[in-house]
């Protein structure tokens, strides 16, 4: 045993000598590497390409470490796919302004980390530098905190005003002037939640009593009028999802049971249209239903994409689906079924000529990319440090 040890030591010494000799053998024909500057930080284009997505990892197991990754889905390797990241602390939500090149993140901090004084902040992230360029602090913390949403932080009025949803559980919307970065108003939305852009300068909210409430604002953010629609669904027996897809000013709200309600949001007041079926009679018999978190999104060609699952029942509505169904909204017609590799929990669809569908696979929390026109699986995006990428966003919202 002792002799063997000695042999190993000699072998190690020999290897070290060879390595040292190799290192010493310089190639003097090559010029030396230039001296590099320290402190260099990368930046991004002010307007992201269509293939880029914002991947919101709510970090369900470490909520104070919530973050959004900027991902280029056209790249092949993780090193090329990850373009950068910014934080969204404690179950926050984001909104985007392509015109301003800004991303807005509603966040919450405590003065001692998990305890101490609570502070609610809207952080304004610069899309090019991914650095914070401003913030707005709530006088009294009350912003909505929960599973990620697409319409809890909503720019309106050509991105002059920003709406941020509050919940204490009293519901209201804080209105921020994006030029001055100041809170200009808070409008109560009793019994109603979320902020779906409506008309030139307004928003609508979904209500517990099965209505929509539309709020019209003046240029300075002051309240002009609030109007409640007729009851069009029952939140006990026939609920609709709060997630929706906008196509040319109409929001498509899927119901738990497989209908979709088109709501025209182009005027000052939301106009609820006649619902239509997403499923055939045979599919309804198989209990095909919508399901997921970010379960619906739209492309630039009049299509919405929705996660569907068979054997649906009370309790399966948040679980996602095995297929993505694509509908031509105006024709009320399904144009494509995409069979997912495994299962999908959330999806987002890229803008532009070639819609691509990015789907969260909850079995390993990877992302899968599909061609939105053919349904072809393209690649997986994984191992980028993600934990729970619960909400996906196309790289901008109109």
């Amino acid at each position: 045993m002792r002799r063997f040890k000695n042999r190993v030591s000699w072998a190690g010494l020999l290897a070290s000598t060879v390595l040292a000799a190799t290192a010493l053998a310089q190639d003097s024909s090559l010029p030396p590497l230039p001296i590099e500057a320290t402190g260099t930080v990368q930046s991004l284009p002010a307007k992201y390409p269509d293939e880029w997505f914002l991947v919101h990892d709510a970090s369900f197991f470490h909520m104070s470490d919530g973050k959004v990754y900027v991902i280029d889905t056209s790249a092949d390797t993780v090193a090329e796919q990850v373009k950068g990241m910014f934080n969204v602390v404690l179950m926050g939500n984001i909104g985007q302004s392509r015109r301003r090149g800004e991303i807005y993140a509603a966040e919450t901090f405590h003065s001692r980390g998990t305890r101490g004084t609570r502070m609610d902040v809207l952080t304004i992230w610069d899309m090019a530098s991914l650095a914070p360029k401003g913030e707005v602090v709530w006088p009294t913390p009350k912003r909505y905190m929960g599973m990620p949403q697409r319409f809890a932080v909503t720019p309106i009025d050509n991105d002059n005003l920003l709406l941020v949803v509050n919940f204490t559980p009293a519901t209201s919307v804080t209105i921020i002037d994006l030029d001055t970065r100041e809170i200009v108003n808070e409008v109560a939305t009793p019994g109603c939640l979320m902020a779906y852009p409506t008309g030139q300068r307004g928003f609508s909210s979904l209500c517990a009593d099965g209505r929509l409430m539309s709020t019209q604002l003046a240029r300075d953010g002051s309240l002009i009028k609030q109007t409640r629609s007729d009851v069009f669904f029952n939140s006990d027996d026939s609920p609709i999802f709060e997630h929706t897809a906008f196509i040319e000013g109409t929001a498509y709200f899927p119901s738990f049971s497989g209908e979709v309600y088109p709501v025209n949001m182009q005027g000052k007041v939301a106009q609820v249209g006649k619902p239509w079926d997403l499923v055939t009679k045979e599919e309804r018999a198989g209990n095909w239903r919508p399901g997921g978190i970010g379960l619906i999104d739209a492309d630039d060609h009049g299509h919405f994409y929705i996660l569907m699952h068979p054997d649906g029942a009370d309790g399966t509505q948040n679980g996602g689906g095995s297929e993505v169904w694509v509908f031509a909204a105006a024709k009320r017609e399904r144009v494509l079924k995409i069979q997912l590799q495994a299962w999908g929990l959330s999806l987002a669809v890229s803008r532009g000529k070639k819609p691509m569908v990015l789907v969260t696979n909850p079995t390993d929390m990877s992302l899968e990319l599909y061609d939105g026109t053919s349904g072809e699986y393209i690649r997986s995006v994984k191992d980028f440090g993600q934990e729970t990428p619960l909400m996906l966003h196309a790289s901008y919202q109109d």
Partner: protein
């Protein structure tokens, strides 16, 4: 492998029929019926009296299991796995006074109960026994029935740790939502 399962199941059943607690009770019951014919002394009557007392409320199942009956509408980390119990918070956390509710059927008595899912707050995610059932769960606009909201409201800290499931009443209607 199935035949082994069947074999073990059959043997277990036979064993249970011969030696289970139920079998012992059956034999004991036979003895008691026989004994009832014998006049009892007053002391013996006093000892026998508790058997006529009302039955205690009953639950069954493992409260650290996601399938436990109270968790029908839950979405979060079970406090039972985090140093708390089904109806109490882990040490050093604070229970939220504002909650969402579900209606769950207790299989032990067949009743539907209103369950309040009070969150425990002030420490980061427990990270153990994540459980999502969602039965009767509704979107956040129906706030009294939604588990998608961070219910650490009205607490010193808004940081979510885990969820309890507290019986706050018997549902009035068996089919109540």
């Amino acid at each position: 492998m199935n035949f082994l399962d069947d074999l073990f199941e059959r043997r277990s059943r036979q064993l249970a029929q011969r030696s289970s607690r139920r079998g012992v009770l059956k034999q004991l019951g036979g003895l008691l019926v026989g004994a009832a014919a014998v006049p009892l002394l007053p002391v013996a009557r006093a000892v026998a009296a508790p058997q006529a007392a009302p039955k205690a409320p009953k639950e069954m199942g493992d409260e650290s299991d996601c399938d436990y009956w109270r968790y029908c509408a839950i979405d979060g980390f079970l406090c039972s796995c985090c140093g708390g119990t089904k109806n109490s918070c882990p040490p050093g956390t604070e229970m939220s006074p504002i909650t969402w509710i579900g209606t769950c059927r207790n299989p032990a008595d067949g009743r539907n109960y209103v369950i309040s899912y009070n969150d425990c707050c002030g420490k980061s995610s427990c990270g153990i026994c994540l459980c999502q059932r969602d039965e009767g769960d509704r979107p956040p606009y129906r706030s009294d029935k939604t588990n998608d909201i961070n219910w650490c409201l009205g607490t010193a800290s808004a940081v979510y740790h885990c969820s309890t499931a507290i019986v706050v009443g018997v549902a009035l209607d068996k089919g109540a939502k």
